[in-house]
């Protein structure tokens, strides 16, 4: 029974897949259909390799996951990632943990407190408002 179904189903599936992938395969073969986009032209100008480009494109999925892990509302994640440029998305994907996050909190120990107090007074830092 299963064999019979398979026999009929497989050619159909193959045909469907082939037809489905035709537009993708055909796209690069007919370059005359559309103008070269500004993004593509800029990428070539920056002599950006294909590997980097692919990396940047895949980066967006990565960033989505990371944002959810950082506690961002899943309903917001897609729009947030869509607003990033390719380079920014890649940067987020690669080094979100190292990126400085503007927050202004001091979780400092006492020794650090003293050093910062002194550097504040010297005018090198700006941690404590009362030193100005």
């Amino acid at each position: 029974m299963m064999k019979k179904i398979c026999r009929y189903l497989s050619p159909l599936l193959i045909a469907a897949l082939v037809l489905g992938s035709l537009p993708v395969a055909a796209a690069p073969a007919s370059p005359g259909s559309g103008l070269v986009t500004t993004q593509d032209a800029l990428n070539v100008e920056r002599t950006q390799g294909d590997r980097e480009r692919i990396h940047e494109i895949l980066a967006r999925d990565d960033v989505q996951e990371q944002l959810v892990a950082q506690g961002v509302d899943p309903a917001e994640v897609e729009a947030r990632v869509a607003a990033l440029s390719d380079a920014e998305a890649a940067q987020m994907a690669d080094q979100l943990e190292q990126l400085p996050a503007g927050a202004s909190v001091v979780g400092a120990l006492f020794a650090v407190f003293v050093i910062l107090l002194v550097t504040d007074i010297l005018g090198l830092t700006n941690v404590f408002p009362f030193t100005r």
Partner: protein, 322 residues
């Protein structure tokens, strides 16, 4: 704490004191405490003081200096958005802060273009003088124990050597230029202005602006970006890529003749810009002008590079098609 004394803590205290003294000595010797200087040209062109009084202030809550700073510059540019909306769009709960790429992305979401500006006081003060409040990133502390912070620079006084910032809970906070620059330098002097399409930053050589507008167009589409490219080509008429981008955007918004004009401007500025010849040819072909198309494509084919093969193919198809 103080009443439990024995010998060990004394030794440890002495060590801490020694380290402190050394740090102090090094800092003094390094001489990093001098007030940064402006270039002579900037000094001549700028007024002695400026203050963007109309920039609205939003006090930050908890760690939310990022959303608060964004609200200030966006409201200043006429975007009606409140801090709470921005918190859900840019704040990262896991990091208890906001990161730079998302600060720029959020500006795009609200239909404004984030232009990163050059990291120096000259550019910063020139933008303020041009009426653009500037979002700056600072590390208020030392590199080893960073306290990252976003603020909005809205004014300066060259005689007093002070900067004026909307920062944290404090509107129009006055800081010495020396202290401000020391804290700003620790973010590699990261700063940007958020401008409506059609308005250009007062500083920069155009390269960064070109990327900024292209990134904006990817998010907001051709129609929104059109005034930005018009303004760019007006400001930097010698930049061929600007005309090229304007051509694409005009084409995408249905202005074929305008697009042809722009592509022609692009190749007039830079006759070796193969991709502009290619698009000029493609567009002429689309408009049913095979002679013009052939002429442009032949120029593209003659230029070695990434577009040569595609141009050759299109030219071949065109000849085959008659």
């Amino acid at each position: 704490m103080m009443h439990c004394r024995d010998r060990q803590p004394h030794i440890r205290n002495a060590r801490v004191a020694g380290v402190l003294a050394l740090v102090l000595l090094l800092l003094t010797l390094a001489g990093c405490a001098s007030t940064p200087q402006l270039a002579d040209t900037t000094e001549r062109e700028l007024p002695r003081r400026a203050l963007l009084e109309d920039t609205p202030f939003h006090g930050q809550r908890d760690y939310q200096c990022g959303p608060a700073s964004l609200a200030m510059v966006l409201n200043d540019g006429g975007v009606d958005v409140d801090v709470d909306t921005l918190i859900s769009q840019v704040f990262l709960p896991g990091r208890e802060g906001s990161v730079q790429p998302e600060m720029l992305g959020t500006v795009r979401r609200h239909g404004r273009i984030p232009f990163s500006i050059d990291g120096n006081l000259d550019a910063l003060l020139t933008e303020i003088d041009a009426g653009h409040p500037v979002v700056v990133m600072q590390n208020l502390s030392l590199p080893a124990w960073p306290v990252w912070h976003y603020a909005v620079a809205i004014g300066f006084d060259l005689d007093e050597e002070t900067m004026i910032l909307h920062s944290g809970m404090e509107p129009e906070r006055v800081e010495s230029v020396k202290r401000f620059d020391a804290t700003w330098a620790r973010s590699d002097r990261w700063a940007f202005v958020a401008l409506p399409p059609g308005e250009m930053p007062a500083t920069g050589d155009g390269k960064a602006a070109l990327d900024a507008i292209a990134d904006f167009e990817r998010v907001q589409g051709a129609k929104a970006a059109l005034p930005a490219w018009e303004a760019f080509t007006e400001r930097y008429p010698e930049t061929a890529m600007g005309h090229f981008a304007l051509g694409n955007t005009r084409h995408a918004t249905g202005d074929s003749q305008g697009a042809i004009d722009a592509f022609e401007q692009a190749v007039a500025q830079e006759p070796d810009l193969a991709v502009a010849w290619l698009n000029l040819g493609l567009l002429h072909r689309e408009l049913g002008e095979p002679d013009e198309a052939r002429k442009a494509l032949q120029r593209a084919v003659a230029l070695p590079g990434a577009w040569q093969e595609q141009a050759r193919q299109v030219l071949h198809d065109l000849k085959a098609g008659g």
